[in-house]
Protein backbone atom coordinates (compact mmCIF):
# COMPACT_ATOMS: atom_id res chain seq x y z
CA UNK A 1 0.00 0.00 0.00
CA UNK A 2 1.36 3.42 -0.90
CA UNK A 3 1.02 6.39 1.38
CA UNK A 4 1.92 10.06 1.27
CA UNK A 5 4.50 11.64 3.55
CA UNK A 6 4.52 15.43 3.58
CA UNK A 7 7.86 17.00 4.45
CA UNK A 8 7.70 20.72 5.15
CA UNK A 9 7.09 23.53 4.69
CA UNK A 10 8.51 23.77 8.22
CA UNK A 11 10.49 20.67 9.11
CA UNK A 12 13.70 19.96 11.05
CA UNK A 13 15.18 18.31 7.94
CA UNK A 14 14.76 21.43 5.82
CA UNK A 15 16.85 24.56 6.05
CA UNK A 16 14.11 26.85 4.83
CA UNK A 17 10.43 26.51 3.92
CA UNK A 18 9.34 24.38 1.02
CA UNK A 19 7.23 21.28 0.78
CA UNK A 20 8.04 17.86 -0.54
CA UNK A 21 5.04 15.53 -0.83
CA UNK A 22 6.42 12.03 -1.15
CA UNK A 23 4.51 8.95 -2.27
CA UNK A 24 6.07 5.94 -0.54
CA UNK A 25 5.86 2.16 -0.73
CA UNK A 26 7.12 1.02 2.62
CA UNK A 27 10.35 2.90 3.20
CA UNK A 28 10.95 3.57 -0.48
CA UNK A 29 10.01 6.84 -2.16
CA UNK A 30 8.11 6.23 -5.41
CA UNK A 31 7.51 9.83 -6.46
CA UNK A 32 7.55 13.33 -5.06
CA UNK A 33 6.02 16.72 -5.75
CA UNK A 34 7.50 20.03 -4.71
CA UNK A 35 5.81 23.17 -3.52
CA UNK A 36 7.57 26.50 -3.15
CA UNK A 37 6.44 30.07 -2.64
CA UNK A 38 5.91 30.09 1.11
CA UNK A 39 8.10 33.17 1.47
CA UNK A 40 7.47 34.76 -1.92
CA UNK A 41 8.56 38.41 -1.69
CA UNK A 42 7.84 39.91 -5.11
CA UNK A 43 11.34 41.38 -5.35
CA UNK A 44 11.25 41.57 -9.16
CA UNK A 45 8.18 43.77 -8.96
CA UNK A 46 9.65 45.81 -6.12
CA UNK A 47 12.78 46.44 -8.21
CA UNK A 48 10.68 48.42 -10.69
CA UNK A 49 10.00 50.95 -7.92
CA UNK A 50 13.66 51.49 -6.99
CA UNK A 51 16.21 53.76 -8.66
CA UNK A 52 19.57 52.62 -10.01
CA UNK A 53 21.26 53.01 -6.62
CA UNK A 54 18.48 51.57 -4.47
CA UNK A 55 17.95 48.56 -6.74
CA UNK A 56 21.49 47.33 -6.00
CA UNK A 57 20.80 47.30 -2.26
CA UNK A 58 17.46 45.59 -2.90
CA UNK A 59 18.85 42.80 -5.08
CA UNK A 60 21.59 42.15 -2.55
CA UNK A 61 18.74 40.86 -0.36
CA UNK A 62 17.59 38.21 -2.86
CA UNK A 63 19.96 35.76 -1.17
CA UNK A 64 21.58 35.74 2.24
CA UNK A 65 24.48 33.50 1.19
CA UNK A 66 25.39 34.75 -2.29
CA UNK A 67 24.33 38.36 -1.84
CA UNK A 68 27.46 39.63 -3.59
CA UNK A 69 26.79 37.53 -6.69
CA UNK A 70 23.37 39.12 -7.15
CA UNK A 71 24.74 42.65 -7.09
CA UNK A 72 27.61 41.63 -9.36
CA UNK A 73 25.23 40.19 -11.96
CA UNK A 74 22.89 43.16 -11.69
CA UNK A 75 25.73 45.69 -11.98
CA UNK A 76 27.19 43.88 -15.00
CA UNK A 77 23.78 44.04 -16.70
CA UNK A 78 23.40 47.75 -15.83
CA UNK A 79 26.92 48.39 -17.12
CA UNK A 80 25.74 46.88 -20.40
CA UNK A 81 23.02 49.52 -20.52
CA UNK A 82 25.32 52.42 -19.63
CA UNK A 83 28.37 51.45 -21.66
CA UNK A 84 30.60 51.60 -18.59
CA UNK A 85 33.50 49.20 -18.17
CA UNK A 86 34.90 48.73 -14.68
CA UNK A 87 38.64 49.36 -14.22
CA UNK A 88 40.90 46.27 -14.12
CA UNK A 89 41.43 46.54 -10.35
CA UNK A 90 37.67 46.50 -9.77
CA UNK A 91 37.34 43.37 -11.93
CA UNK A 92 39.95 41.60 -9.81
CA UNK A 93 38.25 42.65 -6.58
CA UNK A 94 34.98 41.30 -7.99
CA UNK A 95 36.68 37.94 -8.59
CA UNK A 96 38.13 37.92 -5.06
CA UNK A 97 34.74 38.66 -3.49
CA UNK A 98 32.99 36.08 -5.68
CA UNK A 99 35.47 33.34 -4.77
CA UNK A 100 35.38 34.16 -1.05
CA UNK A 101 31.61 33.96 -1.27
CA UNK A 102 31.91 30.56 -2.98
CA UNK A 103 34.17 29.36 -0.17
CA UNK A 104 31.69 30.65 2.39
CA UNK A 105 28.76 28.99 0.64
CA UNK A 106 30.47 25.64 0.09
CA UNK A 107 31.76 25.44 3.68
CA UNK A 108 28.32 26.36 5.02
CA UNK A 109 26.78 23.67 2.82
CA UNK A 110 29.39 21.13 3.93
CA UNK A 111 28.45 21.85 7.55
CA UNK A 112 24.75 21.34 6.90
CA UNK A 113 25.43 18.16 4.92
CA UNK A 114 27.63 16.87 7.77
CA UNK A 115 24.84 17.55 10.27
CA UNK A 116 22.34 15.64 8.12
CA UNK A 117 24.79 12.75 7.87
CA UNK A 118 24.93 12.64 11.66
CA UNK A 119 28.52 13.84 11.56
CA UNK A 120 28.26 16.55 14.22
CA UNK A 121 32.00 17.05 14.74
CA UNK A 122 32.38 17.88 11.07
CA UNK A 123 29.44 20.27 11.31
CA UNK A 124 31.21 22.21 14.06
CA UNK A 125 34.50 22.19 12.14
CA UNK A 126 32.83 23.55 8.99
CA UNK A 127 31.00 26.30 10.84
CA UNK A 128 34.20 27.35 12.57
CA UNK A 129 35.85 27.61 9.14
CA UNK A 130 32.87 29.51 7.81
CA UNK A 131 33.40 32.11 10.53
CA UNK A 132 36.99 32.52 9.38
CA UNK A 133 35.88 33.04 5.77
CA UNK A 134 33.43 35.65 7.00
CA UNK A 135 36.28 37.32 8.90
CA UNK A 136 38.12 37.73 5.59
CA UNK A 137 35.01 39.10 3.90
CA UNK A 138 34.59 41.51 6.79
CA UNK A 139 38.23 42.57 6.58
CA UNK A 140 37.64 43.59 2.95
CA UNK A 141 34.11 44.95 2.99
CA UNK A 142 33.35 45.77 6.63
CA UNK A 143 30.33 43.45 6.46
CA UNK A 144 29.72 39.76 7.08
CA UNK A 145 26.54 39.08 5.05
CA UNK A 146 25.54 41.89 2.70
CA UNK A 147 28.89 43.28 1.59
CA UNK A 148 27.76 46.30 -0.48
CA UNK A 149 30.83 45.90 -2.65
CA UNK A 150 29.43 46.30 -6.15
CA UNK A 151 28.35 49.50 -7.87
CA UNK A 152 27.77 50.47 -11.48
CA UNK A 153 31.22 50.77 -13.06
CA UNK A 154 33.25 49.12 -10.33
CA UNK A 155 33.36 48.37 -6.62
CA UNK A 156 32.86 50.48 -3.50
CA UNK A 157 35.86 49.38 -1.45
CA UNK A 158 39.47 48.70 -2.26
CA UNK A 159 41.68 45.91 -0.95
CA UNK A 160 44.37 48.06 0.59
CA UNK A 161 46.61 45.31 1.94
CA UNK A 162 46.50 42.29 -0.43
CA UNK A 163 49.38 40.43 1.32
CA UNK A 164 47.43 40.49 4.60
CA UNK A 165 44.32 39.08 2.88
CA UNK A 166 46.49 36.53 1.07
CA UNK A 167 47.89 35.35 4.40
CA UNK A 168 44.34 34.86 5.71
CA UNK A 169 43.37 32.94 2.56
CA UNK A 170 46.44 30.71 2.80
CA UNK A 171 45.65 29.93 6.44
CA UNK A 172 42.09 29.04 5.40
CA UNK A 173 43.32 26.87 2.56
CA UNK A 174 45.67 24.97 4.87
CA UNK A 175 42.89 24.40 7.39
CA UNK A 176 40.49 23.15 4.74
CA UNK A 177 43.13 20.88 3.22
CA UNK A 178 43.78 19.48 6.70
CA UNK A 179 40.16 18.92 7.80
CA UNK A 180 37.22 19.28 5.40
CA UNK A 181 38.73 17.94 2.18
CA UNK A 182 40.21 14.63 3.44
CA UNK A 183 37.21 13.82 5.61
CA UNK A 184 34.70 14.45 2.84
CA UNK A 185 36.74 12.66 0.22
CA UNK A 186 37.93 9.63 2.20
CA UNK A 187 35.89 9.07 5.39
CA UNK A 188 33.74 5.96 5.59
CA UNK A 189 30.88 7.96 7.20
CA UNK A 190 30.62 10.29 4.23
CA UNK A 191 30.97 7.40 1.79
CA UNK A 192 28.35 5.20 3.41
CA UNK A 193 25.78 8.00 3.60
CA UNK A 194 26.42 9.34 0.10
CA UNK A 195 27.66 6.74 -2.40
CA UNK A 196 25.00 5.64 -4.87
CA UNK A 197 22.28 7.77 -3.21
CA UNK A 198 20.13 10.47 -4.83
CA UNK A 199 21.41 9.79 -8.33
CA UNK A 200 20.73 12.29 -11.09
CA UNK A 201 21.83 10.79 -14.38
CA UNK A 202 23.54 12.91 -17.00
CA UNK A 203 20.56 12.49 -19.35
CA UNK A 204 18.14 13.70 -16.68
CA UNK A 205 20.48 16.54 -15.70
CA UNK A 206 20.48 17.74 -19.32
CA UNK A 207 16.73 17.34 -19.60
CA UNK A 208 16.10 19.31 -16.38
CA UNK A 209 18.61 22.01 -17.34
CA UNK A 210 20.38 21.82 -13.98
CA UNK A 211 23.35 24.08 -13.34
CA UNK A 212 26.37 24.48 -11.08
CA UNK A 213 27.88 21.77 -8.87
CA UNK A 214 24.82 19.55 -9.35
CA UNK A 215 25.34 19.55 -13.13
CA UNK A 216 29.08 19.03 -12.75
CA UNK A 217 28.46 16.10 -10.38
CA UNK A 218 26.35 14.51 -13.14
CA UNK A 219 29.21 14.72 -15.62
CA UNK A 220 28.36 18.05 -17.29
CA UNK A 221 31.43 20.32 -17.47
CA UNK A 222 29.50 23.59 -17.49
CA UNK A 223 30.79 26.65 -15.68
CA UNK A 224 30.06 30.22 -16.78
CA UNK A 225 33.46 31.36 -15.45
CA UNK A 226 35.01 29.17 -18.14
CA UNK A 227 32.35 29.19 -20.89
CA UNK A 228 31.62 32.94 -20.86
CA UNK A 229 34.23 34.61 -18.63
CA UNK A 230 33.27 37.83 -16.84
CA UNK A 231 35.13 40.19 -14.47
CA UNK A 232 38.78 38.99 -14.55
CA UNK A 233 38.17 35.24 -14.84
CA UNK A 234 39.74 35.13 -18.29
CA UNK A 235 43.07 35.85 -16.61
CA UNK A 236 42.72 33.12 -13.96
CA UNK A 237 43.94 29.56 -14.25
CA UNK A 238 41.66 27.02 -12.65
CA UNK A 239 40.11 23.62 -13.24
CA UNK A 240 36.41 22.83 -13.38
CA UNK A 241 35.92 19.69 -11.25
CA UNK A 242 33.55 17.19 -12.84
CA UNK A 243 32.38 13.84 -11.44
CA UNK A 244 30.46 11.30 -13.52
CA UNK A 245 28.40 9.40 -10.93
CA UNK A 246 25.57 11.91 -10.27
CA UNK A 247 25.11 10.77 -6.67
CA UNK A 248 25.44 12.54 -3.33
CA UNK A 249 29.10 11.61 -3.08
CA UNK A 250 29.80 13.16 -6.49
CA UNK A 251 28.17 16.43 -5.35
CA UNK A 252 30.26 16.30 -2.19
CA UNK A 253 33.47 15.71 -4.14
CA UNK A 254 32.75 18.44 -6.67
CA UNK A 255 32.22 21.03 -3.94
CA UNK A 256 35.26 19.87 -1.99
CA UNK A 257 37.43 20.18 -5.11
CA UNK A 258 35.88 23.56 -5.91
CA UNK A 259 36.94 24.84 -2.49
CA UNK A 260 40.55 24.16 -3.46
CA UNK A 261 40.07 25.72 -6.91
CA UNK A 262 38.60 28.84 -5.30
CA UNK A 263 41.69 29.11 -3.09
CA UNK A 264 43.85 28.78 -6.20
CA UNK A 265 41.93 31.61 -7.92
CA UNK A 266 42.13 33.78 -4.79
CA UNK A 267 45.90 33.37 -4.58
CA UNK A 268 46.29 34.40 -8.23
CA UNK A 269 43.92 37.37 -7.99
CA UNK A 270 45.50 38.71 -4.81
CA UNK A 271 49.01 38.27 -6.19
CA UNK A 272 48.24 39.96 -9.50
CA UNK A 273 45.86 42.70 -8.27
CA UNK A 274 46.51 45.52 -10.73
CA UNK A 275 46.96 49.13 -9.57
CA UNK A 276 44.53 51.90 -10.40
CA UNK A 277 41.00 53.09 -9.75
CA UNK A 278 38.30 50.84 -8.32
CA UNK A 279 35.33 52.49 -10.05
CA UNK A 280 34.40 54.90 -12.80
CA UNK A 281 33.84 58.47 -11.73
CA UNK A 282 30.35 59.94 -11.64
CA UNK A 283 27.09 59.39 -9.84
CA UNK A 284 24.72 59.78 -12.78
CA UNK A 285 24.66 57.19 -15.51
CA UNK A 286 23.50 57.49 -19.11
CA UNK A 287 21.10 54.54 -19.35
CA UNK A 288 19.96 53.70 -22.85
CA UNK A 289 16.60 52.19 -23.73
CA UNK A 290 16.88 48.43 -24.02
CA UNK A 291 17.50 45.18 -22.24
CA UNK A 292 20.84 43.83 -21.06
CA UNK A 293 21.54 40.38 -19.74
CA UNK A 294 24.33 39.14 -17.53
CA UNK A 295 25.31 35.70 -16.27
CA UNK A 296 27.56 34.76 -13.39
CA UNK A 297 28.62 31.43 -11.85
CA UNK A 298 27.28 31.66 -8.30
CA UNK A 299 28.25 29.02 -5.72
CA UNK A 300 25.08 27.08 -6.62
CA UNK A 301 25.38 27.62 -10.36
CA UNK A 302 24.47 30.06 -13.07
CA UNK A 303 22.57 33.23 -12.12
CA UNK A 304 21.07 35.28 -14.92
CA UNK A 305 19.71 38.81 -14.76
CA UNK A 306 17.74 40.49 -17.53
CA UNK A 307 17.45 44.21 -16.88
CA UNK A 308 15.24 46.42 -19.00
CA UNK A 309 15.47 50.22 -18.96
CA UNK A 310 13.86 53.24 -20.60
CA UNK A 311 16.17 56.15 -21.37
CA UNK A 312 15.70 59.01 -18.93
CA UNK A 313 14.15 56.82 -16.26
CA UNK A 314 15.70 56.46 -12.84
CA UNK A 315 14.08 53.05 -12.28
CA UNK A 316 14.41 49.81 -14.23
CA UNK A 317 11.38 48.88 -16.32
CA UNK A 318 11.89 45.20 -15.50
CA UNK A 319 14.38 43.06 -13.60
CA UNK A 320 14.13 39.32 -14.12
CA UNK A 321 16.27 36.98 -12.05
CA UNK A 322 16.84 33.31 -12.87
CA UNK A 323 18.48 31.84 -9.80
CA UNK A 324 20.34 28.50 -9.81
CA UNK A 325 18.10 26.85 -7.25
CA UNK A 326 15.06 27.62 -9.43
CA UNK A 327 16.75 25.58 -12.19
CA UNK A 328 17.99 22.75 -9.99
CA UNK A 329 15.16 22.21 -7.53
CA UNK A 330 12.70 20.43 -9.87
CA UNK A 331 15.36 17.72 -10.28
CA UNK A 332 14.90 16.69 -6.63
CA UNK A 333 11.86 14.75 -7.79
CA UNK A 334 14.09 12.45 -9.85
CA UNK A 335 16.79 12.22 -7.16
CA UNK A 336 14.41 10.92 -4.47
CA UNK A 337 12.66 8.34 -6.65
CA UNK A 338 13.70 4.92 -5.36
CA UNK A 339 15.53 6.41 -2.39
CA UNK A 340 14.97 5.45 1.25
CA UNK A 341 12.74 7.90 3.07
CA UNK A 342 15.47 8.47 5.68
CA UNK A 343 17.85 9.69 2.95
CA UNK A 344 15.55 12.37 1.56
CA UNK A 345 16.65 15.22 3.88
CA UNK A 346 20.25 14.69 2.77
CA UNK A 347 19.24 14.30 -0.89
CA UNK A 348 17.35 17.59 -0.93
CA UNK A 349 20.22 19.27 0.91
CA UNK A 350 22.68 17.92 -1.67
CA UNK A 351 21.58 20.49 -4.24
CA UNK A 352 22.43 23.22 -1.70
CA UNK A 353 18.96 24.70 -2.12
CA UNK A 354 18.34 28.37 -1.50
CA UNK A 355 14.64 29.03 -0.99
CA UNK A 356 15.38 32.68 -0.45
CA UNK A 357 16.61 32.89 -4.05
CA UNK A 358 13.76 30.74 -5.32
CA UNK A 359 11.11 32.78 -3.49
CA UNK A 360 12.65 36.01 -4.70
Amino acid sequence: MSYKIPMGPYHPGLEEPYKLDMICEGETVQDAKLRIGFNFRGIEHLAETRNYIQVIALMERVCGICSNIHTLTLCQAMEGLTGLTPPPRAKYIRVIMAELERLHSHVLWAGIAAKLMGFKTMFMTCFELREKVMDVLQAISGNRVNYSMNRIGGVNRDITDPPAILALVEALEAEMARTVIPIFTTSSTARSRCAGIGVLTMERAISCGVVGPVARASGLPQDIRRAAPYAAYEEMEFDVPVQPDGDLRARLLVRALEIMESCKILRQALAKLPPGEIHMEGEKFPFITGTATSRVEAPRGEVMYSVSWKEGSRNPARVHVRTPTFAVMPAIRWMVQGARLADTPLIQASIDPCYSCTDR
Binding site: G42, A77, S306
Partner: protein, 135 residues
Protein backbone atom coordinates in the same frame (compact mmCIF):
# COMPACT_ATOMS: atom_id res chain seq x y z
CA UNK B 1 29.53 27.37 -40.97
CA UNK B 2 29.21 28.63 -37.38
CA UNK B 3 26.72 26.97 -34.99
CA UNK B 4 24.61 30.13 -35.04
CA UNK B 5 24.43 30.10 -38.85
CA UNK B 6 23.49 26.41 -38.72
CA UNK B 7 20.61 27.26 -36.41
CA UNK B 8 19.41 30.00 -38.79
CA UNK B 9 19.60 27.56 -41.68
CA UNK B 10 17.76 24.88 -39.72
CA UNK B 11 14.98 27.31 -38.91
CA UNK B 12 14.95 28.73 -42.43
CA UNK B 13 15.52 32.26 -41.15
CA UNK B 14 17.51 34.57 -43.41
CA UNK B 15 17.73 37.50 -41.00
CA UNK B 16 21.16 37.73 -39.34
CA UNK B 17 21.85 37.19 -35.67
CA UNK B 18 22.18 40.45 -33.77
CA UNK B 19 24.37 40.70 -30.67
CA UNK B 20 22.86 43.12 -28.21
CA UNK B 21 22.93 43.49 -24.44
CA UNK B 22 25.02 40.34 -24.00
CA UNK B 23 22.65 38.16 -26.06
CA UNK B 24 22.71 36.81 -29.62
CA UNK B 25 19.21 37.52 -30.88
CA UNK B 26 17.49 35.88 -33.82
CA UNK B 27 14.12 37.21 -34.94
CA UNK B 28 11.93 34.12 -35.20
CA UNK B 29 9.57 35.73 -37.72
CA UNK B 30 6.81 33.26 -38.57
CA UNK B 31 8.49 30.41 -36.73
CA UNK B 32 6.66 29.19 -33.65
CA UNK B 33 8.26 28.80 -30.26
CA UNK B 34 7.91 25.03 -30.63
CA UNK B 35 9.90 25.04 -33.85
CA UNK B 36 12.60 27.08 -32.13
CA UNK B 37 12.61 24.70 -29.13
CA UNK B 38 12.94 21.68 -31.44
CA UNK B 39 15.89 23.32 -33.20
CA UNK B 40 17.51 24.10 -29.86
CA UNK B 41 17.14 20.46 -28.83
CA UNK B 42 18.78 19.33 -32.06
CA UNK B 43 21.74 21.61 -31.40
CA UNK B 44 21.93 20.46 -27.74
CA UNK B 45 21.44 23.99 -26.45
CA UNK B 46 20.67 24.32 -22.74
CA UNK B 47 17.44 26.08 -21.82
CA UNK B 48 17.95 28.88 -19.31
CA UNK B 49 14.79 30.86 -18.78
CA UNK B 50 11.86 32.83 -20.17
CA UNK B 51 11.49 36.50 -19.28
CA UNK B 52 8.02 38.00 -19.53
CA UNK B 53 7.36 41.68 -20.21
CA UNK B 54 3.98 43.35 -19.99
CA UNK B 55 3.77 45.89 -22.80
CA UNK B 56 2.06 49.26 -22.46
CA UNK B 57 -1.64 49.71 -23.18
CA UNK B 58 -3.27 46.81 -24.97
CA UNK B 59 -0.13 45.62 -26.73
CA UNK B 60 -0.08 42.40 -24.76
CA UNK B 61 3.11 40.68 -23.68
CA UNK B 62 6.57 39.88 -24.90
CA UNK B 63 8.28 36.64 -23.94
CA UNK B 64 12.03 36.29 -24.33
CA UNK B 65 13.32 32.70 -24.43
CA UNK B 66 16.97 32.09 -23.61
CA UNK B 67 19.21 29.13 -24.37
CA UNK B 68 22.93 28.60 -23.87
CA UNK B 69 25.01 27.11 -26.68
CA UNK B 70 28.63 26.50 -25.67
CA UNK B 71 28.69 29.63 -23.53
CA UNK B 72 26.87 31.82 -26.06
CA UNK B 73 23.59 33.23 -24.79
CA UNK B 74 20.87 32.93 -27.45
CA UNK B 75 17.62 34.88 -27.38
CA UNK B 76 14.31 34.58 -29.22
CA UNK B 77 11.61 37.16 -28.64
CA UNK B 78 7.92 36.41 -29.16
CA UNK B 79 5.22 39.06 -29.02
CA UNK B 80 1.85 37.84 -27.79
CA UNK B 81 -1.17 39.64 -29.15
CA UNK B 82 -3.36 37.91 -26.61
CA UNK B 83 -2.67 36.01 -23.45
CA UNK B 84 -1.47 32.69 -24.81
CA UNK B 85 1.44 30.91 -26.44
CA UNK B 86 2.22 27.25 -27.09
CA UNK B 87 3.90 25.43 -24.25
CA UNK B 88 7.27 23.80 -24.91
CA UNK B 89 7.22 21.79 -21.69
CA UNK B 90 6.84 18.50 -23.57
CA UNK B 91 9.90 19.36 -25.67
CA UNK B 92 11.94 20.87 -22.86
CA UNK B 93 11.33 19.65 -19.32
CA UNK B 94 13.39 22.51 -17.92
CA UNK B 95 10.67 25.02 -18.83
CA UNK B 96 8.18 23.55 -16.35
CA UNK B 97 8.59 25.90 -13.41
CA UNK B 98 9.19 29.07 -15.40
CA UNK B 99 6.06 28.48 -17.53
CA UNK B 100 4.09 27.92 -14.34
CA UNK B 101 5.58 31.01 -12.71
CA UNK B 102 4.77 33.22 -15.72
CA UNK B 103 1.27 31.74 -15.85
CA UNK B 104 0.79 32.64 -12.21
CA UNK B 105 2.48 36.02 -12.38
CA UNK B 106 1.09 37.34 -15.65
CA UNK B 107 -1.93 35.06 -16.41
CA UNK B 108 -0.33 33.98 -19.68
CA UNK B 109 -1.65 30.60 -20.82
CA UNK B 110 0.88 28.10 -22.12
CA UNK B 111 -1.33 26.07 -24.42
CA UNK B 112 -0.98 22.30 -24.43
CA UNK B 113 0.02 21.65 -20.86
CA UNK B 114 -1.66 21.12 -17.55
CA UNK B 115 -0.83 23.17 -14.51
CA UNK B 116 -0.28 21.82 -11.08
CA UNK B 117 -1.50 23.95 -8.20
CA UNK B 118 0.08 27.36 -7.90
CA UNK B 119 3.83 27.36 -7.48
CA UNK B 120 3.72 30.69 -5.71
CA UNK B 121 1.19 31.67 -3.07
CA UNK B 122 -1.00 28.59 -3.12
CA UNK B 123 -4.70 29.34 -3.08
CA UNK B 124 -4.17 32.83 -4.44
CA UNK B 125 -5.35 34.30 -7.71
CA UNK B 126 -3.16 34.05 -10.82
CA UNK B 127 -1.83 37.40 -11.93
CA UNK B 128 -1.72 38.91 -8.48
CA UNK B 129 2.06 38.93 -8.28
CA UNK B 130 3.40 40.73 -11.31
CA UNK B 131 0.69 41.68 -13.78
CA UNK B 132 -0.48 45.27 -13.79
CA UNK B 133 -4.22 45.74 -13.84
CA UNK B 134 -5.49 47.71 -16.83
CA UNK B 135 -7.68 50.64 -15.90
Amino acid sequence: MSPLDSISEKLGITEPWVEKGGVHWLTPGAKSVREVAQAMNEFHARFITITAYQLPGDQGFRLEYHWDLNGQLLGFSFQLAGNSIESIYDLCEATDWIEREIHEGFVIDFVGREYEPLLLRQGDTPGVNLREEKK
